[in-house]
Symmetry: C2
Subunit: 344 residues, 2 copies
């Protein structure tokens, strides 16, 4: 077995999503569990700051997923959570009202996949019956932290992506015959191929996604055509094209099954979101609201999802450093699909 690639035995019991107005306006708008339906009100979710709004979204998402599963917070053994805010306070503050044993994560935009992977490992290893995993981003808290003040009004480049205002929570549990299962996972390796343009996150993350995919295909003796869908978190149009090119160099043809949460969430042309959505919340809410229901119903039977993260720091960029990327992978199968048995 290649290191960092695991057989897992857990179910994805449910997911819940909370998004802002722009995401509600997008093509998946009516599938999210909660959304802000008021235009131009800043997506404050009743809070006094964007940072607190993001925390509130995490709180709402966890509450919503508990409602769906009819679990109480006392039945959650552990939770894994993170976000993009400095010192990860979106999660730390947002989940304070749930006194559940807490692992804080930082995987940039790969955080949702990182949490699901660790949750599935925790359940598969026998350490928990039920884990929660929560991830979020807020356009306003992220943009003013990573790029420029919100009212600066800088021109956005064609490769720039739009940070999603959204949070999603999932419950990962012991295997259940009637739910989507997490059957394999791959831990990402941080890769730095020299990208230092903070408006081209897709290019920074694509090499890491290619690396994880190639390692996974080799270890499991599978190929793209074995999956109904292979979806990345937030490579967008730019990063997605680079990923398909990189995979072609390794003799894998990804295009027929390739999808990207960042390309799904907005109507890029009409909503002026350039290369697509990004942020921890992007893959989290699109998995919860779009792909998970398709898996649950059997419309998709076997899928790979890669959380893609750009380990970017505005300070380190100013100090002349690059933007390393990382990508964690999960293999999800429909309730009645036959699980793979060829590793471990």
């Amino acid at each position: 077995m290649e290191r960092g690639i695991f057989t897992l035995n857990a179910s994805l019991l449910a997911g819940a999503s909370v998004v802002g107005y722009k995401e509600y306006e997008g093509p998946l708008g009516d599938r999210f569990d909660f959304y802000n339906d008021r235009k131009n009100d800043g997506d404050y979710f009743g809070q006094k700051s964007y940072e607190a709004a993001e925390s509130e979204m995490q709180r709402m998402a966890l509450g919503a997923v508990l409602d769906k599963t009819t679990l109480t917070q006392e039945q959650l053994d552990v939770m894994f959570a993170g976000d993009l805010q400095n010192q990860c306070t979106g999660a730390a503050y947002g989940l304070l009202s749930y006194p559940v044993p807490y692992f804080g994560l930082y995987g940039a935009c790969s955080t949702m996949a990182e949490g699901l992977l660790l949750g599935a490992m925790t359940v598969s290893g026998g350490f928990a019956r039920h884990c929660a995993t929560v991830a979020s981003s807020h356009n306003c808290s992220a943009e003013r932290q990573y790029r420029t003040p919100l009212n600066y009004g800088g021109q956005r480049t064609p490769t720039a992506q739009w940070t999603v205002t959204g949070a999603a929570a999932f419950v990962v549990s012991e295997p259940r015959a009637d739910r989507v299962r997490i059957v394999r996972g791959a831990v990402g390796i941080t890769r730095d191929l020299g990208i230092n343009d903070t408006n081209n996150m897709g290019a920074a993350m694509a090499p890491a996604a290619a690396d994880t995919l190639c390692r996974f295909f080799r270890a499991t003796d599978t190929q793209p055509s074995d999956y109904d869908v292979i979806v990345t978190g937030d490579l967008g149009t730019e990063g997605g094209a680079i990923l398909c090119d990189l995979m072609r160099l390794e003799r894998y043809e990804l295009a027929p099954v390739y999808d990207d949460c960042g390309m799904r969430i907005y109507n890029n042309e009409a909503q002026d979101t350039h290369a697509g959505g990004s942020g921890c919340g992007c893959s989290a809410v699109v998995l919860a609201a779009h792909f998970l229901p398709l898996l649950q119903s059997g419309s998709i039977r076997r899928m790979l999802i890669l959380g893609t993260g750009a380990m970017m720091s505005p300070d380190r960029i100013k100090q002349g450093e690059n933007i390393p990327g990382i990508a964690h992978l999960l293999e999800l199968v429909a309730p009645d699909a036959v699980p793979p048995e060829n590793i471990r």
Copy 2:
């Protein structure tokens, strides 16, 4: 079993530490593996910024622990790492030269314990033979990020602590009869008791440490006198006294076995470090250089270590919020000590 409290079956194969000049001048100075021996040179470790210096310390620490174990990076299945820098770049950039599957963590100053706990779970669950865990802090990168510019020269209050310049790396492996074992662990719950003084981290973290300890004692039916040492990461003199008081209210007398890495690392009076050391690096380097050798030699036979973290954000503090705390616990035993068998 109480949730988030696990029986573990892993060994702590080795630890390695790298520190700055002030730490080298302290009472444990000659026990660290690498140190900067030049006073007033800023602890740059040959880099151009404090942030890059912290990354370099992580790189050195991981290299050093691999040397000690005679493992190669290819034999590491997974690594867990984190630090205090915004976007956790101390770890993300520092470990780039080790292409090992990577889980990024943010647990504030509890990161080392969080990593060891997840590492021990990963090994105990059969997902890895060898995991690395790395954590760091740098006084200069932390102070200018969390408090004030370095040359501002603000007066420090008596409860203030001194962020340790240091990094440590550990290898967690399958059980070995001749090494220190990790036999139990407890995942912390985030606790907010209303502290909002950024110069009193000890008070913010003490309630979380008390909570984890009480949950652990109840779940395992043990008490402080069952352990040779119970050590916290960086509560310092202020937080340590509060913890002992809080535990007394719960009828546990901690004082006879209580110790704190933050109280060990400096000579507070002579080095003007006020309430003691703090930071991710504090508990990491003191465990690697002081407690782990004592356990390995059998001078300490059974010990609890709690990584204590203040989930503090300068922005959220300015927005009027408090500082929640968290504490993750590990039970470590000497190579020939009988492991406990009363949970799971």
